[in-house]
């Protein structure tokens, strides 16, 4: 069985974002789980990826021929992914617009029927745990299956250094391992079953 492709969405584009630490840690962690990480960073996707989207891909009149190339490429990438991982802070208890702006650009049927895991982080004591309440139903509405495990990393600046190395006792990071294990299990279960049993569309 070929390596599972996991799209990792970065949920922050703010100057000086701490998410880089988490991204580096996650890339290695996914590889250790024999999964292929594909980082999707709203800040570097393409010319218009840092702009508020005015036309989602599925709203283009004549198919998507006029849509930006990066948008069409990413849609294909989403459709072929075996699972998703969301790395995310919270802004005023809500979903960072960099994340929702990007995810809303594509139709729910591109995400449908693949598992997704959530990892939140913050520099404060609560690890952005409140965004869970809004992120879970949102990803579900996009068609994904939110796995039960999730990870919350408070005080990320004391947990990971700039290269993504662990500088704490690593307690909080054990949950990440569980999230990755669940994504892997569900991705494989779905992949195995869908061969002979088409998913109801």
């Amino acid at each position: 069985m070929s390596t599972l492709k996991i799209l990792v969405f970065l949920g922050s584009v703010r100057r000086g974002r701490m998410i880089e630490r988490l991204r580096k840690y996650i890339e290695t962690a996914l590889e250790n789980h024999n999964m292929q990480p594909i980082i999707i960073d709203p800040a570097t996707l393409g010319q218009s990826s840092m702009e508020l989207n005015r036309i989602p891909l599925h709203f283009y009149a004549d198919g998507d021929s006029d849509a930006p190339t990066w948008m069409k490429d990413l849609n294909e990438c989403i459709r072929r992914a075996n699972g998703f991982l969301i790395l995310c802070s919270e802004y005023n208890c809500g979903i960072p617009p960099a994340l929702s702006n990007l995810l809303n650009t594509f139709p729910p049927w591109s995400y449908k029927h693949r598992p997704v895991g959530i990892i939140t982080y913050s520099t404060g004591n609560f690890g952005a745990v409140r965004v869970l309440s809004v992120l879970r139903p949102y990803l579900n509405e996009l068609g994904m299956l939110v796995v039960p495990a999730y990870a919350t990393i408070p005080l990320i600046q004391e947990t990971l250094d700039e290269d993504g190395n662990v500088i704490s006792d690593g307690q909080e990071l054990k949950h990440i391992d569980k999230v990755l294990s669940e994504i892997k299990w569900y991705a494989k279960a779905i992949k195995a079953y869908v061969v002979n049993h088409p998913i109801p569309s």
Copy 2:
């Protein structure tokens, strides 16, 4: 493969509840999908099932030996279920306490790693659709996998009669079929894969 057991939780115990209409319709619909419906009604479970729970099953000191029999039996039933279905109205945009009071009585690991579908209904125009936003993350926290499809039935009194027969054009009911198809697909996919691949606990 033996018939899938689907626990159907009734989310209302109010006098004159409309949920009976939906229950009847769903029993037949599940059987038509070759799934076995097991109705769980907070109003008729046992002596204390209509009381606010003071001791969840997993909080009993000496295992669960002192817990009410209906509670221990239902826990076993939950653990053996292949999937779940929630029939639910909304009370002030929130989850009916009859539902949360019952579900909170059991540990998340009893529900874990089984698909769940949501069907909401109301006598008004919005079909209790707002409860979705709070029900999805709640069921997810309990360990279930919320399938993407959901059904919302506005004006239930004009959609189903007291025996659960369709008295409208049935438009709104097509979504129920989709919910049941997805529960079935995921329940089977999980059941097939878990045989040789234990789920990460």
Copy 3:
């Protein structure tokens, strides 16, 4: 100006509940703010207050003449209150059913146009902060005005002793003071303005 009456709803009826510590602390704190605390405890209200409600007060056919006395009395008490305070844990990230079962028993117009503050607590690290996301819109739907400040108390067993005395450095409790100040300010502002300007109903 007469003393402001603040209804304090206890959001837990579980055996061994930690909320007693918080209740005792809050009674004193409200009095120190020159407000009158009126504790509303679902566990001790009346014969049927620990049962899942089947008939909200506003659903009784012939007015509320057949409703339990405690229910009619509490409704009057709610209508005359100047503000509300919710003390609350979280059960699986959701609202404790003891709280929603009680609040749903009364019509939104009984709560309307009075300020409400939220104080959450837990024995863990996050202080039940996730229930905020569902509690705020729920109280708002009931007609109350949720004040901006809220307090979250992690590790309550290390913060308050059984008599409600502070046994920590009190850091987490500073937010409670802010919540009470805001309830007081809004209750007074509304009370002062409503004299000559009836609130739109």
Copy 4:
């Protein structure tokens, strides 16, 4: 008493947005209520207002001297407003990123202690009512007081024409009137009381 200034935030920048119809209707409705509408449109604010924000105003190192002029001006405008009104659709049940991207740009203390009303709309049957569940706690976290009334407009294309004229029987629009009345009442109550009683900060 001078006219109340109400900031009206437009929550959509999508091509062909229906929000223009609602904006026109609201401008007139606010004027009929003797309030001054100030339209805040993310699409036309300034050079960078259509970009994902990388530096919120309160994150600038040396005060806000390097921030774009439109950002500093709008912050002043927010601080001086007497109330807020959110016009908003829902994207996959969530808050449109054009709205959260703009609101997150400013500190909570700029919004604090002013009433806010919510009006949602859609071209479908549910009028984007699901976004309420996430919008209410989000605005509350930003420091605003969400008034109890809200309005939901399904089938907006059959309710208002392109000039904002009513083309339906106007049933759905009655709720808007209630939202505006409540914003006005609370804005005035707060304005009257704050003169001699500083709000706790």
